[in-house]
Amino acid sequence: MKRMTARRFGALTVMACVVSALAVASDMGEQRPKEKVSVDLRLATDGLTGGGDIMAGEIVYSKRNSVDLKEGPRRSDETVATLDKGAELTVVDTRGAQLQVRTKRGVEGWVSKLNTTSDKPRGSLGDVKILTSDDLGPGERSNVGAIRGLQEMAEDYAAEVEVPQEAIDDVKKMEAITLTINQQDIDEFLEEGDVQ
């Protein structure tokens, strides 16, 4: 059998992936704008260097999925886009812990430097894929929020391994406590504690 040259193998590999790549949407790291988040964000100011100072012109990357790119540096500012993990950003300006950045497609906005990294994030072998907020459309988001209560299989399991009724009641109580807390409660809690 003829040995395949490195050049030919490279070409075959490339062409295979190009076929798939051509089917991918052109957006690279950006998605549609999200709903406004109603939590206020305290700016880090006065004498804060932000350590390992990030300078204008530097390239940073979104460290995780579903990162909000805001119109301004405050938490209450409108979200202009959401960033996928690995989205490349050029730093335009800095204000404490907030970075003004430009995406590869030219969209400008502000992001917390805590959500960025100077090393491009890589996937890992054997990654498990789970859902994040950005995977969901508006209708799906309310559905996800409504997934509460022990699933049927968990209850069958409890019966099978003879989990005491008091343990079942406790997990149900745990879920019930969370149901009593809404977004306004969280806003007020943060404000009362001066956590911003």
Binding site: S124, I130, V144
Partner: protein, 293 residues
């Protein structure tokens, strides 16, 4: 020819290549075949993104597995601490942090377990527990936020599911559209028992614990808490156990000193100058009343 090429690409994915590996191999192949580097980078990025388009595990399946683990946790580790204000308080801190994560809007539940041992743990789907023994070692809300941030990070980074994926039965049991955990109690039990074994016997990989520290500190800081909270809490533990090199947490976690060193390095570099609330007064008032601390 087209189908052969698509088949080759698919084989790369089935062979376990991650999206970044597909990206790297594609770029290498392009350059080998004479393409210029900039164009190779662009096409490789698209190929990597295509490779990453694998269906995620549905959230109700995650919650199902997590719910089973939560039931077993409470049965073996202890009941909910009998103070509703304390339970609500811990939920408020936890849910505040969740809003700053890629899982904002997803169901999460938090509970304090009546147990003098120092421990905290999380299940897939967001059931998060902290023992009363652990809370007794805290001094302020930022320390609580650091611990909850760490546990939330285990969920957002899917550490438990990644540990489980090393078992051969995981893919058929949990991934894919006809996963057996949805239908088969025996398979479901196997997965839940594996999860609890990882939580309470084996522990996560050391790098996953370090990752949860790093990401958890960021989540707490993004919420507005003093980012040094987790480090200060771990120092409390180290002082309390006399730094003997063993004890609380360390059967399932890296040594306290190495965790503290890593967190403090970040606090002095990447996170230097980032301030936040400590929340000492509110914490002392609520926890003091609940635990008599």
């Amino acid at each position: 020819m087209r189908y052969l090429l698509v088949l080759i690409c698919g084989l790369m994915l089935l062979g376990g290549c991650s999206s970044s590996q597909v990206q790297d191999l594609t770029k290498a192949g392009l350059i080998l075949s004479g393409e210029d580097e900039e164009k190779a980078e662009r096409i490789a990025e698209a190929a990597g993104k295509a490779a990453g388009s694998i269906a995620p595990i549905p959230i109700d399946r995650e919650r199902s597995i997590g719910g089973g683990m939560a039931l077993k946790s409470v049965a073996t580790e202890g009941r909910l601490y009998p103070n509703d204000e304390l339970q609500r308080y811990v939920n408020l801190v936890g849910l505040s942090i969740v809003r700053e994560t890629p899982r904002a809007g997803f169901p999460f539940n938090f509970a304090v377990i009546d147990n003098d041992e120092v421990n905290a743990w999380a299940t897939p789907g967001g059931y998060i527990f902290v023992t009363s023994g652990a809370v007794m070692q805290m001094e302020d809300e930022a320390q609580l936020a650091g611990v909850l941030g760490h546990e939330i990070a285990h969920v957002t980074e899917a550490h438990m599911l990644k540990m489980m994926k090393r078992e051969q039965f995981f893919e058929a049991a949990v991934e894919g559209t006809s996963a057996s955990v949805d239908q088969n109690l025996s398979e479901y039990t196997k997965v839940v028992d594996l999860g609890n074994d990882i939580l309470f016997e084996r522990g996560y990989d050391r790098n996953m614990e370090y990752n949860a520290d790093e990401v958890g500190v960021e989540f707490a800081a993004l919420t507005g808490y003093d980012p040094s909270g987790l480090s200060r809490y771990l120092k409390n533990l180290r002082s309390a156990q006399g730094n003997t090199g063993g004890g609380w947490l360390e059967s399932t976690h890296p040594q306290l000193s190495s965790r503290i060193e890593r967190i403090d390095t970040r606090l002095n570099t990447d996170l230097a100058g980032i301030e936040g609330a400590a929340g000492r007064e509110r914490f002392q008032r609520i926890v003091g009343a609940a635990l008599g601390n």
